[in-house]
């Protein structure tokens, strides 16, 4: 290309594309391999219980699966049969003693729940539906307003 020629060069894009594609790779920093290998070595040297479960040895995977299944089964069996054992009654009474300071809160909550239930019974279902609809509209308005503000603050108008 003659630099004194003031007309745009129609082949510029093609030549630029060719030049860009011919650019060689830049050498990676010398620290890259040591950094990666340090992480890799840490993973290799980590004990099995510090690795993700899918990296555990196969035998340990099987044992862990069996162990978890057994624990779940035992918990289910205990829940279903705990009332058959006398020690559960003692444990329940001890738990009740521990939780005694929370009794006023529990009484207050149950009173509130009873009051709310009475209000619901006293009002028509259409009022409840209206209140629910109002809550939904308010929620959606908040979401829409938040989205609009986010877009205005974060995004440019593209075209």
């Amino acid at each position: 290309m003659n630099p004194r020629d003031s007309r745009p060069d129609p082949t510029w894009e093609t030549r630029l594309d060719r030049e860009l594609k011919s650019l060689p790779d830049r050498p990676a920093p010398h620290t890259l391999i040591p950094r990666v290998m340090a992480v890799v070595q840490a993973r290799v040297c980590a004990p099995w219980y510090r690795r993700p479960w899918w990296d555990w040895p196969p035998a340990l995977k099987i044992v862990s699966l069996l162990g978890v299944s057994g624990l779940l089964g035992l918990a289910t069996w205990l829940v279903m049969h705990c009332s058959e054992y006398p020690w559960t009654a003692a444990a329940a009474s001890e738990l009740e003693t521990w939780l005694a300071p929370l009794n006023p809160i529990w009484t207050l909550l149950t009173s509130l729940a009873s009051a709310v239930a009475l209000v619901f019974k006293g009002t028509g279902s259409w009022i409840l539906l209206g209140a629910g609809g109002l809550c939904a509209i308010m929620y959606l308005s908040c979401v829409a307003l938040g989205t609009a503000v986010y877009r205005v603050a974060s995004y440019r108008r593209i075209e």
Partner: protein
């Protein structure tokens, strides 16, 4: 678990390609090194399959591109904002002036091939991200305009505009100020 020594040899073969791909997209050596590290850690997870694959280069490039774009997404609002400023500040006569500049003779007789490549690489790195990223995706990653628009979640028109402005800016830098481009 893969053999670390074999993996190190694998890294030596591909580290320049991965690092360069990341660097051209993110425009920052420290960020590019972080991304390259993440790419190779992902590769290590799949090394047993990758070591025998003929498409490992493509796999590495794709992962690098995706991680780089994820990285850029975190700063997207910022560079979009500056892109908007550029639109206002560089539109009009400045844009037309740059577009009408004569194209630089890339294989200039005055500089040898290495200098010319350094000049071009440096000019590319100095482009604003809003122009550099689509330009790199188009010329280096061989993505179509539509694919770039989908990747960057911007309109097709904006992709074309940004790539055009990137080329014009490259031309402007190479023609008017080659010394500063290498500085």
């Amino acid at each position: 678990m893969s053999d670390p020594l074999q993996f190190e040899a694998f890294m030596r073969d591909y580290q320049d390609m991965v690092f360069t791909s990341a660097l051209r997209l993110v425009g920052n050596e420290a960020d590019a090194e972080d991304i390259a590290q993440d790419v190779f850690l992902k590769a290590y997870m799949h090394f047993d399959q990758l070591r025998h694959s003929f498409t490992v280069g493509g796999w590495l490039k794709t992962v690098t591109r995706n991680l780089s774009l994820n990285h850029l997404t975190r700063y997207r609002a910022r560079w979009r904002f500056f892109s908007e400023c550029d639109d206002h500040g560089e539109s009009g006569e400045h844009h037309d002036f740059a577009a009408n500049l004569p194209a630089p003779d890339l294989p200039t007789q005055a500089v040898d091939t290495a200098d010319r490549r350094n000049l071009l690489e440096s000019a590319l790195q100095k482009l604003p991200p809003a122009q550099r990223v689509p330009l790199v995706l188009y010329h280096f990653e061989n993505l179509s305009y539509e694919e770039i628009a989908a990747k960057l979640r911007i309109s097709l028109g904006k992709v074309k505009t940004d790539i055009h402005r990137g080329r014009v800016a490259l031309r402007q830098r190479l023609v008017r100020n080659p010394e500063s481009a290498t500085a």
